[in-house]
Subunit: 226 residues, 2 copies
DNA sequence: AGCCTATTAAATGTCTGACATTTTGGCAAG
DNA sequence: CTTGCCAAAATGTCAGACATTTAATAGGCT
């Protein structure tokens, strides 16, 4: 539904879906809380524009991740954020991680390795998610940790572009491994570089940039365009 | 109220505050949405621990910013986030800002300059807020833009530590000016460095690190401790 | 004694109908 | 043409009854 458009009134929604007004109001309140719609007494309910959405609300992330075909513009925005933020997070993790954090990252990485084939793609995605989220947690910062929710829609979008060739999976796995190694050895700068390499690979898999030989140029181009 | 503690039942709250059950339920639903409390049918309502709070929810930011004495631990967490994130945001802004963005930052900066005295501290704070938020917006990324909400509690906390000496204000102003200049001239790396300098000044004003001569050492110490 | 089950109490969740409040637009008088 | 008032339409609020879920407790069986 286009931004600015109006929704039917509550009672009509009740009739249409054959539910009580309570359920309608709960649902609408939930949407309003995530900034998708705006309600004013006497005026009605209308759709907000994307820039007003609360992208950081966990509900929103969960919702986006469950969509079949999320808005490509949104996927790009979220990925652009990850591309600028995640190297910093990896750097922090390399400074702050304790044994338990490293164990969590390793466990996720092992899971990725054992599911690195087309048949087990769904499991692989879950481990991928766990890997990145473990890094956010390892930063030991409350704010960054919460931001881990944003990973789900971004990584789930990978399922759409399922050109998971063996070579691509191997390459991705190797890059993830280098992040793990840098964090385990407490080397922030190496972790930062390695995280950026992982994201360049992800950008290709998401279809955000074309695969070209000099990946550094690709990254610079993207950074300037977004 | 301590984490894990239970709240009174709805009907008791109705009596206590002499309001309808609807209002109580609305308020509790709002708290639940921000992760402050957890409700389960038959079990009751209990307080969640800080790590479960949705710090990124705009409601939460607004709430925190209005508090007289916000939890120092929380202020430190949010500032640590800003310290790692804001240089990146400034860098993005230097790449992506258009004329309107730069105008907004300049306007906020002018406001900061004309209110740089103890009498006008509240106005100065507002302009300070506007300055940083304008930079987040200038990144032209939906996610970073939303994160601007976090600024308010962090900057409002400055009012508590109101040791705004003339020298400190002058220094702070000069550092802000260098960020503006770097963004205006489209120099990402300079903007990144300048933003970090601003935050070092803010860390001192917030009482997070003591003022010492070699500010680089101060920053490194903080980064490792958080 | 120990364990499993049925009952009961306590809390949140849901439904329903009526009423209150806010917003908007139209109509009429000045 | 403007101003003020009224009516319609929408969301917001109230009150009370009822449903569902959870946890504790008492009782019977092995």
């Amino acid at each position: 539904m286009a931004a600015g458009g109006g929704l039917p009134r509550e009672l009509d929604l009740c009739q249409h879906f054959d539910v009580s007004r309570n359920q309608v109001r709960n649902a609408l309140a939930s949407l309003a809380a995530t900034g998708l719609i705006e309600r004013t007494a006497g005026r009605g309910t209308r759709v907000c524009q994307i820039s007003d959405w609360h992208l950081l609300d966990p509900l929103m992330s969960e919702w986006l991740a469950g969509l079949e075909a999320p808005d490509p513009k949104l996927v790009r925005e979220i990925f652009a954020f990850r591309y600028s933020a995640e190297p910093v997070v990896a750097s922090l993790a390399a400074s702050a991680a304790v044994a338990a954090d490293i164990a969590a990252i390793e466990q996720a990485f092992d899971g990725m390795r054992t599911t690195a084939n087309a048949q087990q793609a769904p499991h692989h995605i879950e481990y991928d998610l766990a890997f990145h989220e473990a890094i956010y947690r390892a930063s030991h910062n409350l704010v960054w940790r919460q931001m881990g929710h944003l990973l789900r829609p971004s990584i789930m979008a990978l399922i759409q572009h399922s050109q998971h060739s063996v070579a691509a999976l191997d390459d991705s796995l190797a890059r993830h491994g280098r992040v793990l190694a840098a964090i385990r050895e407490g080397q922030p700068q190496a972790a930062e570089r390695a995280a950026r390499e992982v994201l360049k690979r992800t950008a290709i898999d998401l279809g955000i940039v074309a695969e070209i030989s000099a990946s550094r140029d690709a990254a610079r181009t993207m950074r300037n365009r977004i």
